[in-house]
C-alpha cells in the first residue's frame, strides 16, 4: 500500500492539514475523512454529477479528482456555498418550484446551475437543458429544475435592466 501523503487545503473556508492515501478520491476524503456529507456518491465514475464540488472555484466531479490533487487548493461543497449565502436565490427558486424530490442530486444541480448563471446568464430554456445534462435526476423529470434556473436568470436580467434605468 502506498505511503500516506501530507496535504494541506482549504475546505469551506477552513484550513485542513492531514495525510491521505494517494488513491483516495476527493469525494471520499470529504465524506469519510472530514465528515462533510453534502456532496454524494452516485456512480463513482464521473457520470451522474451527485458528487459535484468546487475546486478553486471551478465545478468538478469529486469522484474524478484525487484528494492529493486538491492539495494547496480551495474546496467548497454545497454546505460551504450555502452558508455564505452564495446560492440563496437558486435555493429559493428550487424550493418554490419543487425542483428537487429526494434531494440526492441537489448539491450537484445547485452548483451546476450556479455555474450556468455565472458563465451563461443569457441562456435560453434549451441551453439550460443542454448545460444541465451533465447531472442526473431520477425524480423530477428536470422541468422544475429548468423552471427554477429560468426564474433566477430572468430575475437577474430584470434587476440588471432595472439598474440601467436608474
Amino acid at each position: 500500500m502506498a505511503e500516506r501523503q501530507s496535504i494541506r487545503l482549504v475546505v469551506n473556508g477552513k484550513s485542513v492539514t492531514t495525510t491521505v492515501e494517494p488513491r483516495m478520491h476527493l469525494i471520499d476524503f470529504l465524506r469519510d475523512e472530514l465528515q462533510i456529507k453534502g456532496a454524494r456518491v452516485g456512480c463513482e465514475h464521473g457520470v451522474c454529477g451527485a458528487c459535484t464540488v468546487r475546486l478553486n472555484g471551478q465545478m468538478v466531479r469529486g469522484c474524478l479528482v484525487l484528494a492529493v490533487g486538491a492539495a494547496n487548493c480551495t474546496v467548497e461543497t454545497l454546505e460551504g456555498a450555502s452558508d455564505r449565502g452564495d446560492l440563496a436565490a437558486l435555493q429559493a427558486a428550487f424550493h418554490a418550484r419543487n425542483a428537487l424530490q429526494c434531494g440526492f442530486c441537489t448539491a450537484g444541480m445547485l452548483l451546476a446551475a450556479a455555474e450556468l448563471i455565472a458563465t451563461r446568464p443569457d441562456s435560453s430554456r434549451e441551453e439550460i437543458r443542454e448545460f444541465m445534462s451533465g447531472n442526473y435526476c431520477r425524480c423530477t423529470g428536470y422541468q422544475a429544475i429548468v423552471d427554477a434556473i429560468e426564474d433566477v436568470l430572468s430575475a437577474r436580467s430584470a434587476s440588471v435592466a432595472g439598474g440601467q434605468k436608474c
Binding site: M1, E21, M24, D28, R31, D32, Q35, K37, G38, A39, R40, V41, G42, C43, E44, H45, V47, C48, A50, T77, L78, E79, S82, D83, Q91, F94, H95, A96, N98, L100, Q101, C102, G103, F104, C105, T106, A107, L110, E126, I128, R129, E130, M132, S133, N135, Y136, C137, R138, C139, T140, G141, Y142, Q143, A144, I145, V146
Partner: protein
C-alpha cells in the same frame, strides 16, 4: 342520529392549505446539503461489508479459500452462507392468492448454487470500505458453470435446463382470465387486429443506491436498522421473524431516502446478510451498494412479451381483447411481494378504459438466470397500457377512424359508474370522457393534426400519440394481506398538541421526496385550523410512528392522508371539549380557528391553543377537578370498500422522427389526470412529470442488456441510458377531480400514473409519425436502430 358517510364527513371549516401549492418544508435541509441518507450515518465501532457476487449467470462453487483475504489489513472476517445459517432463516417469495405459484427457498448468501450474475455469495467485513474492497480481490474462488436459462421464450421448452430441478420446471406462476365467448366474438367480428409487444428489462437507478446500516446491541438484544427503504414496518417484521427477535426489539429507521420508485420496497438477500452479520459480530455493519451492484442486484422490471388481439365492429365498437403475456422474473420470486404481481396486473389492467364485454388473458411467469424482477413504479401498468393503447391505435387505423374519436366512442362513459371491467376490476368512478375532452383542448389536438399534415409535405414526420389509462391506487389488503404477506394494508397517524402549542404529526407513511410529509402537514393544519408553520411531521421510524404499510401502490396520500385527517379531526374535537371544560360552557358552537378556539357564531375568541397546552401540561391544577384533557389522537385507516380505488387519465405525446437516423425528438407531452382530490397541485404535478420521464426512459432509452450467457453488458451509468434534461420535453398537466367516496379526503394516488401512460403515448406517437411509411415499432425501448429496421433502412441484427 345518522352517521355521515365518509364522503360527507367534514374535512375542515376552511381549506387554506389543502389544494394549495405549498412548498415542502423538508426540502430546505436537502437544499443546504443537510439531508441524512444512510451512508451519511457513522456509528461507533461501525464496520463495513462488501459482497463477493456471482460473476456468472448459473453455476456451482467448487472451491473457496479466504486465507489470503483474511490476512489483509483491517479485515474482521470473511463469511459465507454457513456462517449465518443459524442466525437468519430462508424465505420463499410466494403469495397464497396467486394459486400454484412456486419459488425455492432463498438464503441471505447463496449456498454454492449461483443463479444470477450479481447474486451475493460471500461477505467481507473490514474496518473501512476500502479495506473490505481490497480484501475482496484476494478471495480465491472457483466454480463450474451450469447451462444458462437466459431467454425467457425458451425457459419452458421441454429441453430447457432447469434452474431449480426440485421445482420440476421453470414456471413460477400461470394465470388465466376468460369471461367467455371470446372465440365466438373474434370469429364473428368485422375487424380483428393482432400484434406483439416487447418490453425490455430495465431498472430503477435510484440516485442513492440501496443502503443498510444494521446495529445489533448484544447487551439488550435489540436491532436498529437504518434503511433506505419505503416500508419500514415490513422490514421490521421480516427481521423480527427471520432473525428470531421479538418484533418490539427491532427498530427500522428511514431518514432521507435518495429515490425509491419501488426498488426500495423489497427485501434483498444482502439486507438480511448485513443484519445477520451485525448480530454475529455484535457491532454496527454498513452496506452501501456501489453502482455496478445496483445494476446487477436491484430488482429489475418489465421483461415481457405480450401477444395481443382486438376485435371490433366495422362502425368502430371494441368487442374483445385477448392477450398472452410471458414474463421472465429471474431465478427467485422476490420476497415478500413476489414477482407475480406485475404480470397479474397486466392481466387485470389490459383493456382497462374500455367497454368491451369479452376478455381472455393468459400469464406465464418464468424463471431465468437474470436478476430477480419485481415491482417498480407503475407495476404492470406501463405494459398493460402500451399493449391496450397500441392495439387500439392499430384498430383505429385499420377502421380509418381518428384515434381520439375512436377512444371517445369506446371508453366507459362517465355516467356509467360504479361498474366492473371485463377483466373483473371494480371501478368506483372514472372520468374518461371528461379527460379526453380536456386534453383535446389542452393539446389543441386539431391544431397538432393540421401542423402534422403541413410538415409531412415538407418531409418532416411528426406523430401524435394518445394513451388513455386506468391505474389502481389506495389498495386494501387485496394486494398482499389476503395472500398471507404481513404487509400492512392500513396506515396510522398520531396527532399531538405539544406543550408549546405546536402540533406534531407522526405517520406510518414515509417520505422519499414525493412530498408525503408536506401534504400531511397541510391536512393537519387545515383540519385543526392552525398555521402550517406550527405543524411538524415525523415519519420513518417504527419505534415512533403508528404501524403501517408505507409508500407503494400510490397509497400514501389516499390512505396515510386519510389517517392524518381522521386523527386531526379527533384531536380537534378533544381540544374543543377541553376548551369548553376550561370555560365551563357547552362545546356546542365552538370551533378551531387559526390556532385558537372560538365561538363560531359570535366570533368571540375563547383561548389560544398555546394557552390550552400550557394549562394541560404545566397547570393542571387550574382545570376542573374531574376533567382530564386528552392531548393526542391516533387513527388508523384502511380502504375496504373496493379492492383498489382506480384513477384514470390520458396522455398525449407529440414527437418528431428523423427517418434517416431513427432519432426521436420529444416535442411536448400533455397529461390530464384524475386522482380525485388534489391536495397539493404542485407536488402532484411534479409526481406526474417525474413519472412521465421515467416512463419515457423505459420506452426510449433504458434497457439492461444481456448476452446469451446471461451477463450484463451495460452495468454503468455511462452505458445504461436514462433520460437527461436536454432530451426531455416540457410536460403540461391538467386535472379532473372525481373524488373517491371511500374516504372523507377523497384523494386517490398520483405517483405512478405518469409512468403508466407515457410509454404508450410515446410509442403511439412514433408509430403515428411512421404511418406514411407503413412501418410500426412495438419493441421497447424503441431505439433508433429499431426504427430504421422498421423503415427497412437497415437489416435487423446488423445495425
Amino acid at each position: 342520529m345518522l352517521t355521515p358517510t365518509k364522503s360527507e364527513q367534514r374535512i375542515a371549516d376552511e381549506l387554506r392549505y389543502i389544494g394549495a401549492p405549498v412548498p415542502r418544508p423538508n426540502a430546505l435541509r436537502l437544499l443546504q446539503g443537510r439531508g441524512v441518507y444512510v451512508d451519511d450515518i457513522v456509528l461507533p465501532r461501525m464496520a463495513h461489508v462488501v459482497y463477493w457476487r456471482s460473476p456468472i449467470a448459473h453455476g456451482r462453487i467448487t472451491s473457496f479459500d479466504a486465507s489470503f483475504a483474511t490476512m489483509m489489513p483491517g479485515v474482521i472476517g470473511v463469511f459465507g452462507a454457513e456462517d449465518i445459517a443459524d442466525i437468519c432463516t430462508p424465505w420463499v417469495g410466494t403469495l397464497a392468492h396467486l394459486p400454484g405459484m412456486k419459488s425455492p427457498p432463498q438464503y441471505p448468501l447463496a449456498r454454492g448454487h449461483l443463479c444470477w450474475q450479481g447474486e451475493p455469495v460471500f461477505a467481507v467485513v473490514a474496518e473501512t470500505r476500502h479495506q473490505a474492497e481490497d480484501a475482496l480481490a484476494y478471495l480465491r474462488i472457483e466454480w463450474d458453470e451450469l447451462p444458462v436459462v437466459a431467454n425467457m421464450e425458451r425457459a419452458l421448452d421441454p429441453d430447457s435446463p432447469l434452474i431449480h430441478p426440485e421445482l420440476g420446471d421453470n414456471l413460477c406462476l400461470t394465470r388465466t382470465i376468460d369471461n367467455g365467448a371470446v372465440d365466438a366474438t373474434f370469429a364473428s367480428a368485422d375487424v380483428v387486429v393482432e400484434e406483439s409487444y416487447r418490453f425490455g428489462r430495465h431498472t430503477g437507478v435510484t440516485m442513492e443506491t440501496r443502503s443498510v446500516l444494521a446495529d445489533f446491541n448484544a447487551a439488550d438484544h435489540t436491532l436498529t436498522v437504518y434503511h433506505s427503504h419505503q416500508a419500514p414496518h415490513m422490514m421490521q417484521d421480516l427481521y423480527s421473524r427471520h432473525l428470531n427477535l421479538p418484533e418490539t426489539s427491532v427498530r427500522v429507521i428511514c431518514k432521507d431516502v435518495g429515490g425509491s420508485f419501488g426498488i426500495k420496497v423489497h427485501s434483498y438477500p444482502d439486507d438480511f446478510a448485513t443484519v445477520a452479520l451485525s448480530k454475529l459480530l455484535k457491532r454496527p455493519i454498513k452496506f452501501v451498494a456501489d453502482r455496478l451492484e445496483s445494476f446487477t442486484s436491484d430488482v429489475h422490471a418489465r421483461d415481457h412479451l405480450v401477444k395481443a388481439r382486438l376485435a371490433a365492429t366495422k362502425d368502430g365498437h371494441i368487442l374483445a381483447f385477448e392477450i398472452d403475456d410471458l414474463t421472465g422474473v429471474g431465478p427467485y420470486s422476490v420476497y415478500p411481494r413476489t414477482s407475480g404481481i406485475e404480470g397479474n396486473q397486466v392481466l387485470n389492467i389490459t383493456g382497462g378504459p374500455y367497454q368491451h364485454a369479452n376478455y381472455r388473458a393468459r400469464l406465464r411467469v418464468v424463471f431465468q438466470n437474470k436478476p430477480p424482477m419485481s415491482q417498480y413504479r407503475g407495476v404492470g401498468h406501463p405494459i398493460a397500457c402500451a399493449v391496450t393503447e397500441g392495439i387500439v391505435d392499430l384498430a383505429a387505423s385499420k377502421l380509418g377512424i381518428d384515434p381520439l374519436a375512436f377512444r371517445k366512442m369506446n371508453v366507459m362513459h362517465d355516467d356509467t359508474y360504479p361498474r366492473t371491467g371485463a377483466s373483473g376490476i371494480k371501478l368506483e368512478g372514472l372520468s374518461h370522457d371528461a379527460c379526453l375532452a380536456r386534453i383535446e383542448r389542452l393539446a389543441d389536438y386539431d391544431g397538432l393534426r393540421d401542423e402534422q399534415r403541413r410538415l409531412r409535405e415538407d418531409g418532416v414526420f411528426r406523430g401524435i400519440g394518445i394513451a388513455a389509462m386506468v391505474e389502481l391506487t389506495n389498495p386494501g389488503p387485496a394486494f398482499y394481506g389476503i395472500g398471507g404477506a404481513r404487509i400492512a394494508a392500513q396506515d396510522g397517524a398520531t396527532v399531538r398538541l405539544d406543550a408549546g402549542g405546536g402540533i406534531t404529526v407522526m405517520v406510518s407513511v414515509g417520505e422519499q421526496g414525493q412530498g408525503s410529509e408536506t401534504i400531511f402537514a397541510q391536512i393537519a393544519a387545515d383540519a385543526l385550523s392552525i398555521p402550517i408553520e406550527r405543524v411538524r411531521v415525523i415519519t420513518g421510524d417504527t419505534s415512533v410512528t403508528p404501524y403501517g404499510g408505507g409508500t407503494w401502490a400510490s397509497r400514501g396520500a389516499g390512505i396515510g392522508g386519510e389517517a392524518v385527517l381522521q386523527a386531526s379531526n379527533a384531536l380537534g374535537m378533544q381540544l374543543i371539549e377541553f376548551a369548553s371544560a376550561v370555560h365551563e360552557r357547552s362545546s356546542e358552537g365552538l370551533k378551531l380557528f387559526n390556532g385558537q378556539v372560538m365561538d363560531a357564531e359570535s366570533g368571540a375568541f375563547l383561548i389560544d391553543l398555546k394557552d390550552l397546552a400550557s394549562k394541560a401540561y404545566f397547570r393542571p391544577d387550574t382545570l376542573p377537578r374531574d376533567f382530564q384533557p386528552e392531548l393526542s389522537a391516533t387513527r388508523h385507516f384502511s380502504q375496504r370498500d373496493y379492492p383498489f380505488v382506480f384513477t384514470n387519465g390520458v396522455h398525449v405525446s407529440y414527437v418528431e422522427v428523423d427517418v434517416d437516423t431513427g432519432m426521436v425528438k420529444l416535442l411536448k407531452h400533455w397529461v390530464v389526470e384524475d386522482c380525485g382530490r388534489v391536495i397539493n397541485p404542485m407536488l402532484v404535478d411534479e409526481q406526474i412529470r417525474g413519472a412521465v420521464v421515467q416512463g419515457i426512459g423505459g420506452v426510449l432509452f433504458e434497457e439492461c442488456l444481456y448476452d446469451e450467457a446471461g451477463l450484463l453488458r451495460n452495468g454503468s451509468m455511462a452505458d445504461y441510458l436514462v433520460p437527461m434534461a436536454s432530451e426531455m420535453p416540457d410536460i403540461e398537466i391538467a386535472h379532473v377531480e372525481t373524488r373517491t367516496k371511500t374516504s372523507a379526503l377523497g384523494a386517490k394516488g398520483a405517483g405512478e400514473a405518469g409512468s403508466a401512460g407515457a410509454p404508450a403515448a410515446v410509442m403511439n406517437a412514433i408509430n403515428d409519425a411512421l404511418a406514411p411509411f407503413h412501418a410500426r415499432v412495438t419493441s421497447q425501448p424503441i431505439t433508433p436502430e429499431k426504427i430504421l429496421v422498421a423503415l427497412g433502412k437497415v437489416t435487423p441484427g446488423r445495425a
